[in-house]
């Protein structure tokens, strides 16, 4: 039986109006501008662009403002917006080796060519609240120190180890091999590493963090070292058919993480370090690291390891990493389920009636012999 449920339009309309008012808050306080959000909440913006899988700082700032700072809701708005735009095509793969570096660290090599460059980071801070920021409108404006910049090459750490043959090489496929795209075909299994990396790149930071943490705590040990983390700008190029050459669209900021893990080797191949790879929009190191660790643990089959832990379960990880899908399914429980629930009510009433009926019979059965005595 289908029961149409109508009504509530007015309540919904008013609830939306109220949300708009609450979002704005006290009107004696100036409204946030998109510029302020993009400039001063850049980590939130990066997260929304990454999980919304759409790089556009102003749009992400708008989404954050509209979502009142709810970053998953904001990512949802980004995903919804992208469906309204045509797809021009695919970029040439970005060259992270040519990144304009703003931060580059390695936990495996102290003296690597190009050096350790800390850049903007919360690392090494004491995590003490800075009340100077609260007291002054602009906070304490510190001008950054500058130093003579040297045009020193910054090779990837994994390339250095690769030169010695100590590092497994990157897998290289034929140029014609199709690259899986989750925005074109829904996820299906088995999922190759291209699909896995795309899924992780837009996956929920918290979910990936928890999985990566679980591998460190013994659920699928991969013994990772942060071989290198680099953050900065890379150029995006797109081959324009009508021009016959690749045009530079501009630069985007990305974080790349190379995790170096313990060995694989076989009778045929000498032992080498193995790797996990992380690449995300913006400065989101926690996620880039987590992505690299989870990427590595999902490679268990290819590297001849045993599957013992959740982080290695490709289907489990990929099916639950997307917070837009997850929130859709969890939060849909708030929508009316009156008819479903009515059916359940009928069922539980029937089950109880049967249960009481049986008990009555049983009691009668027990009472009967006593009466006979």
């Amino acid at each position: 039986m289908y029961v149409a449920v109508k009504g509530g339009e007015k309540a919904i309309r008013n609830a939306h109006k109220l949300t708009a008012k609450r979002r704005r808050g006290d009107t004696s306080v100036p409204a946030l501008t998109l510029e302020q959000i993009a400039q001063q909440l850049s980590h939130s913006v990066a997260r929304v662009m990454g999980e919304g899988s759409l790089y556009d700082e102003t749009l992400a700032a708008l989404a954050i403002k509209q979502a009142r700072g709810d970053l998953i809701e904001a990512a949802f708005l980004m995903r919804a917006y992208r469906t309204t735009l045509p797809r021009f095509g695919y970029s040439t793969p970005v060259d992270t080796g040519a990144m304009r570096i703003e931060r580059r660290i390695s936990a495996t090599y102290k003296d690597l060519p190009g050096g350790q460059v800390l850049g903007p980071t919360f690392d090494y801070s004491h995590r003490l609240l800075d009340f100077a920021l609260a007291a002054e409108d602009d906070g304490v404006l510190r001008t950054a120190e500058t130093a003579e910049s040297v045009d020193e090459a910054m090779p990837r750490v994994t390339d250095l180890l690769g030169d010695e043959g100590l590092m497994e090489p990157d897998p290289v496929s034929d140029e014609d091999t199709p690259v899986g795209d989750l925005t074109r075909e829904p996820l299906s299994f088995p999922a190759d590493r291209d699909l896995r990396l795309q899924n992780l790149a837009r996956g929920d930071e918290g979910f990936l963090l928890a999985l990566a943490y679980s591998t460190q705590r013994g659920y699928g040990r991969t013994h990772p070292f942060a071989g290198e983390i680099r953050y900065g700008e890379v150029e995006v190029e797109f081959f324009a058919e009508e021009l016959g050459f690749a045009v530079t669209l501009g630069s985007i900021k990305v974080t790349e993480c190379q995790m170096v893990n313990q060995f694989a080797g076989s009778a045929r191949a000498a032992p080498t370090f193995t790797r996990g790879y992380g690449l995300v929009f913006g400065q989101v190191e926690r996620k880039a690291m987590s992505m690299a660790m989870v990427d590595r643990s999902m490679r268990w089959q290819e590297l001849g390891e045993e599957q013992v832990a959740p982080a290695q379960d490709i289907e489990f990880v990929l099916s639950h990493s997307d917070n837009i899908q997850a929130t859709g399914f969890v939060e849909h429980l708030k929508l009316p389920h009156y008819v479903d629930f009515q059916a359940e009510l009928d069922l539980v009433r029937r089950m109880r009636a049967e249960w009481f009926g049986r008990r009555e019979q049983q009691e009668e059965g027990e009472a009967a012999p006593e009466a006979a005595q």
Partner: protein, 158 residues
Amino acid sequence: MTETTFNDRTGTAADGDRKKIMATLAAATPEAVAEKFESLAPPAFDLVRQPETGLVMVRGRMGGTGSPFNLGEVTVTRCVVRLETGETGSAYALGRSKKKALQSAVIDALWQRPEARARIETDIIAPLAAAQKSAAETVRQETAATKVDFFTMVRGDN
């Protein structure tokens, strides 16, 4: 190499120059492009392709150098114009500014006029490129100040 659709040009060196011009315009803010555009005597042109915003899926490579994978999309706005003298100009840039795409395409078309090229390069492209270079240099110098100088503590042996 086959003939390109526009300009009957096949020379890759010329494509290289044009690519640089287009890249400089793409990297500039809409405000900066507008300011330069307004300093020009605007030529008459037709729209070959309306300014249009769409998506490009950005690819990365596994491990940095391996097989490609899809990282996520960027917004891109493009436009093609034709001057009444026949030159066709194109623009492709990150973001959603249609005005910037249109103005960049016109500047690109003008650059292809031999008599206008030098002026476009010195009055428009050079200052935009200089501003971009100087901004990048500031970031580089600020970054360089955070480079770690390791030193080894020498422990006394006595």
